[in-house]
């Protein structure tokens, strides 16, 4: 991959701020989506139409309170008037692409700008110590899914990378290329050996971490009993569903009125097993969610961050997602042109799972 130098910067966050200001200030875009530093240690997303509010912009906050794709989708059900620059992490950009494929947003006119992502600190950790910073070299500082993330750079239309002492723009799509040109980044693209080497090394580390995580989660959640124990602490708060960028139903299947059981059913269940848990349908909810969303899961880990019961639900979803995606040779958010597997019927497929 080759990049266009962004002269005068050696820090990704500062370079990002500059590019955002330039994009909005020059009128290349009429809106910019970026997190800002807010009151009480918050980092809310804003859609800015003016450059003034961008003073508080924080393109790489230490946490991910709201998945960027959710923020973007909230106002792009119809394509926005004029262009919007959406500055977000690679997993957020990939989720945005999935959301568009799921017909919940229109990316026409939106430029997805990503960057080398160092990962994020878990929300709960920052709550108790607001000085924490994510360190890609120190897995303990990161959200569990960040520790095993291999897609931490180069997603969307254009990405910002550091190579050696310089900062570079990596155009990844035609849209990205045109945009970079429009911003005045002409000149030749150069190779980025330092970035390549560092990135490859980290990917390798992360791949190992992912394999280990998958193995241990698979063991922990083995079989129905294992899965039940895994979700023992689940209180049915549905946070995992609500914060997930690719879960989009207005009324979730689990909340539909006509699926409710009667008292007699609950008592019968209790009588036959000796005891029955209430609130019930814990596993049904999670398995159902997996079966609906697994192919679009981008392993961002938002679900695990939001879980009040400290259940490693993100790691489980990610492990399952990797498995199901492999069945279809699909990679969530990689390209807007890859159709969703369940929308494409191949007569000769998955025979190995038949009798």
């Amino acid at each position: 991959m080759k990049g266009l130098r962004v002269p005068g910067f050696d820090d990704i966050a500062k370079a990002l701020k500059y590019i955002i200001d330039l994009s909005l200030g020059s009128g290349a875009v009429s809106g910019a989506l970026v997190p800002v530093r807010g009151p009480e240690g918050s980092f809310p997303w804003i859609l800015a139409s003016d450059t003034a509010p961008l003073e508080g912009a924080e393109p790489l906050p230490p946490v991910m309170p709201v998945q960027g794709a959710r923020a973007l989708a909230s106002f792009t059900q119809d394509p926005p008037e004029g262009k919007v620059l959406a500055v977000m992490r690679p997993c957020e950009a990939r989720a945005s692409i999935e959301v568009a494929k799921l017909q919940q947003s229109d990316l026409d006119g939106t430029i997805l700008l990503t960057m080398d992502c160092p990962g994020v600190v878990p929300l709960a950790d920052l709550s108790s110590d607001d000085s924490l910073e994510p360190d890609p070299g120190d897995p303990a500082s990161l959200r569990p899914l960040c520790r095993q993330c291999t897609q931490f750079t180069a997603a969307g239309d254009i990405s910002v990378a550091r190579s050696g002492e310089g900062i570079y723009l990596l155009p990844l799509t035609e849209k990205g290329r045109l945009f970079a040109k429009e911003l005045g980044f002409t000149g030749g693209e150069t190779e980025l050996p330092e970035w390549r080497a560092r990135t490859d090394a980290l990917i390798k580390q992360r791949e190992e971490a992912a394999l280990e995580s998958h193995r241990s989660i698979r063991l922990e959640a083995q079989g129905l009993e294992g899965l039940a124990a895994f979700f023992s602490g689940c209180v049915g708060c549905r946070s995992c569903r609500t914060v997930c960028p690719v879960c989009y139903c207005r009324l979730c299947f689990i909340d539909m009125k006509d699926r409710r059981s009667s008292a007699a059913d609950h008592l019968a269940r209790s009588a036959s097993a000796g005891a029955a848990r209430l609130v019930t349908d814990t596993l049904l909810f999670h398995i159902g969610r997996m079966s609906h969303m697994s192919l679009s899961c981008v392993s961002c880990g938002m679900c695990e961050d939001a879980c009040p019961s400290d259940i490693p639900v993100g790691r489980l979803m990610s492990m399952v997602s990797v498995g199901t995606s492999q069945l279809f040779g699909y990679s969530a958010g990689a390209s807007p042109d890859d159709p969703l597997p369940l929308t494409v019927f191949e007569p000769e497929e998955l025979h190995e799972y038949e009798d």
Binding site: P44, S74, S232, S261, L267, S270
Partner: protein
Amino acid sequence: MSTRTEGRYLHSDLEPGDALRSMLREMLESGRLDSVFLLRRTPAEGRFCYSLVSDPETIDETLPFHPVMPVQAARALTQLTIREPLNGPVAALLRPCELRAFLENVKQSQGSMENLFVISCTCPGVFPASEFIGSGRRDPGKDWDLRNACAACVDFVPGTGADMTVILSSDDAVSGTLVHLATARAEELTDHSEGFSPVDGPDPADRNRTTASERQRVRRALLRDAPPAGEGLSSLVSMFSKCIGCRACRQACPLCNCILCDYETSRTIHSPALVMEESRRRGATRVPSGTLQFHLGRLVHIAPLCTACGQCGDVCPVDIPVAEIFIRAGELVQDTLAYRPGRDPDEGPPLSVYSDGELQEIMD
């Protein structure tokens, strides 16, 4: 000068956990109960759940009134009885706030008390779930703190709706277990309870006068100092700035049981055009929009009915003091409407009852 009232009790020499397990086991064995609803351990460390226990032997694994509230019991009982009432006798161990919330739900046809035998307690409070999970967020050497809502709870003696009340909180220590029998049903069901002998004694409320004043003191401090103690809207904006829109507070709340929350419908969700317009008009706008709209809206719907259980605050992933806000708003609204949620099963929900000439004082 309050008149001390005397009540009928059953006393056991065993500690409450064992005493209650023994009583409940017996009730199941004799067929006087089909099932019991109470806390139980789960296979995972530090995790508990409510369970409908039908097998007397399984009672051994239960933890009556363990000081944790993984789920507000009213939410579970609603799920149990919303389609139709119980078709056999079931005992439920409920804390006063859970009982009151369930009674409120029953008023709105979201559940039924039929065939339900309620065993409540004078409640010493629960610990936040995070204390049990030990996520490393808290210093393990520190004394565990009760939920703020519990420390400030003045409604900890159950009223109408409780058949039996276990004395867990009292000014003077109780040796063994004391169970107050409030209804004829309670006397009937406990007729042959082994290991229990009848005694008389002061009513549960009378046993907790000092405790009640202490709680009152903490409550006054909470209402005075708790957020939003600042200036109106800007302080609310600040406070909810961290909100990630996970809606756990809504899900955890037993009173919030609309099929589809008003704040997830197209009627309240802001259209893209509106968001863009706001962004242009003010230079920038927060997205997703509607953070405060959700919380203020939930306050409007729930404050008149809030039983101050504190479940909402417990589940918030970013430690916003949601429980304190609702308790405060609840107190203000309930005082104005002269309504005490879950105290009188025959009293209609406040906003459905209108009396001519009411609330003149807030109109001028």
